[in-house]
């Protein structure tokens, strides 16, 4: 009986209290109503976001425009076939208001040479490491390797150039060489390909691997003949992306292959490369026009590779 009365009292006081505070609270929030101002603030913020976003993408548009405007006039067949002109030739051409003769053939061949060598070095190693990481997901030494790979990815390209300098230029070829350049590029490609290989492998359904094993296929054959073909597009994407990344690298090449004025296929000798040539043109006041066309070419190539890689990865997933 008492408890009933008690709870009724409690309920009554609760009710009264709530009711009282209900009235008071309504007054509070309505008095201090500033929702119009807040809405306006929100809209203003939104406007700022839009403006800043537009500002953010403006550089890419400006750069492309600039390259096209200034670079197109220098592009002709010679561009791809002839070697860079010497200063005298360039100076005469500029004075006469003509297109500078010659092209960047030495750069193109040099870049091709070094990228191919770098790929030959990097791709097998990274594929193997990537597969190793995939097969040993939880193990301790696997995580160690993975962390090292991550660190490697963060290393600036100059530093890699220095390392290649020490190992190859001083150590192996006793002089600047394409090999050193390739090694620097290869080290840059490693983390990218390793990571994309591991990710691609992880995405292949495990049933395929098991089907191979159930048929009594030995391990290395499963990898070669079953897994890699299944993950081919993913792997290709990784490889293409890493190539496109190293194509534009200048600093490490400055420290390793130095550049050359002729087309050169000997990897123990200094070689040219497209970004290096751009740097040379930049430093030479007579070759300025060539700067734009070579940059245009370089960017077009890099972008094309990127687009191809994206297409492949989209078709894949």
């Amino acid at each position: 009986m008492q408890s009933l009365q008690l709870s009724m009292q409690l309920a009554r006081s609760l009710f009264v209290n709530t009711h009282r505070s209900m009235k008071k609270r309504k007054a509070l929030i309505d008095e201090k109503d500033n929702s119009n101002w807040r809405e306006r603030k929100s809209k203003l913020f939104f406007g700022t976001v839009v403006v800043l976003s537009a500002l953010t993408i403006s550089p890419i548009l400006l750069i492309v425009y600039e390259l096209l405007a200034k670079g197109l006039k220098q592009i002709n067949f010679d561009f791809f076939l002839k070697v860079a002109p010497d200063t005298l030739q360039a100076m005469t051409a500029v004075r006469n208001g003509e297109i500078i003769p010659g092209g960047i053939a030495n750069g193109i061949t040099g870049t091709l040479l070094m990228v191919v060598v770098a790929s030959v070095i990097a791709i097998p190693i990274s594929l193997l490491i990537g597969i190793f990481l995939y097969e040993n997901q939880g193990k301790k030494y696997a995580s160690l390797i993975r962390s090292l790979t991550d660190i490697l990815q963060g290393v600036p390209s100059v530093v890699l150039g220095l390392i290649a300098y020490i190992w190859i230029v001083q150590g192996v070829t006793k002089g600047f060489s394409a090999l050193a350049g390739s090694v620097a590029l290869a080290i840059m490609m490693l983390p990218l390909i390793i990571r994309s290989t591991e990710e691609t492998m992880k995405m292949i359904p495990i049933s395929i691997k098991e089907a191979g094993a159930a048929l009594g296929v030995p391990y290395h054959k499963i990898i070669l003949k079953v897994m890699i073909p299944s993950g081919f597009s993913g792997l290709m994407t990784g490889i293409l992306l890493s190539i496109s990344r190293v194509l534009g690298e200048t600093a490490p090449l400055m420290l390793t292959t130095l550049g050359s004025t002729t087309v050169n296929f000997n990897i123990t000798k200094p070689t040219s490369a497209v970004p290096l040539q751009i740097w040379e043109f930049y430093n030479n006041p007579n070759m300025i026009d060539l700067v734009w066309s070579s940059s245009l070419f370089l960017m077009a190539f890099v972008l094309t590779l990127n687009i191809i890689a994206k297409r492949i990865s989209m078709k894949f997933s």
């Binding site: 709530t18 505070s21 209900m22 609270r25 309504k26 509070l28 929702s35 807040r38």
Partner: protein
């Protein structure tokens, strides 16, 4: 159709010919009209996909966050159209509790309860804030359980407690209407019972609209019930009447478990 729809005098909320579509012509809610009784619990029931949550979320204009949802029709809160007021004002008068408890994880329990005010930029004195927090937590029966940990973040609370915290957060505004979207479907039976008791207490001061896929819950605690099917409001009546004597065959089919 009119005899299947409850007539109410001095309703707290009036829904007038409301239709909601996704894209141009996929209608989730078709021409619904209903009045909601003051200080009562009104349940909205129906099988999955009948449009009950969509209907509920139109009442506090949540659909405006999603551009491909189109709403037609009118809703009035105490005779004032909800489209005539700003959403910030509206959502202070109509609160919402969601299916999964969603207290703000980076805020303490205290901050969570008062979150409505702080988010709205209200500057209240500490004593005012304390009072609001205390009374809201008392109203949901949580104060004793958390009064020593008000400044801790709420992630140690059980699901049922978290949900009660979310209800307290809504109560802090003393809204006219509380919308509840299957508030207990993610909770265990014990917590569910506690919250159902809480709702029955709360209806003395608030008008509650409760979407539920659990018929027995509707039968247990609601005063009036709407039955929706394929986007239409099929029947709306006092709960007891509807459960014992449904007027529409579809309602009967649902209640007897023939579908849904």
């Amino acid at each position: 159709m009119n005899d299947k729809i409850l007539q109410i005098s001095n309703p707290v909320l009036s829904i007038i010919d409301l239709s909601i579509s996704y894209g141009e012509d996929k209608y989730a809610v078709k021409n619904v009209s209903a009045d909601v009784k003051r200080n009562a619990i009104t349940a909205i029931m129906g099988p999955s996909g009948c449009g009950k949550s969509t209907l509920l979320r139109a009442i506090n204009r949540m659909h405006e966050l999603y551009p491909n949802i189109h709403t037609k029709g009118e809703i009035k809160l105490n005779e004032e159209s909800i489209y005539d007021m700003s959403t910030t004002k509206l959502r202070r008068k109509i609160g919402m509790v969601f299916q999964r408890p969603n207290p703000f994880p980076t805020m303490s329990i205290y901050e969570n309860v008062i979150a409505g005010y702080s988010l709205n930029g209200s500057k209240l004195k500490k004593s005012e804030k304390d009072e609001i927090v205390e009374s809201s937590l008392t109203d949901v029966g949580l104060l004793d359980e958390v009064k020593d940990s008000l400044n801790k973040k709420g992630n140690f609370l059980s699901g049922g407690q978290q949900q009660r915290l979310c209800i307290a957060r809504t109560l802090a505004f003393k809204p006219d209407v509380i919308l509840m979207d299957e508030p207990t479907s993610a909770l265990d039976p014990l917590s569910t019972a506690k919250i159902e008791d809480l709702l029955v207490e709360l209806k003395a001061h608030y008008s509650i609209i409760l979407v539920t896929h659990n018929m027995s819950q509707a039968a247990r605690i609601s005063d009036n019930a709407m039955f929706m099917y394929l986007g239409e409001l099929v029947e709306y009546d006092k709960t007891k009447k509807m459960f014992t004597n449904p007027k529409d065959s579809r309602t009967e089919g649902y209640l007897t478990g023939k579908f849904g």
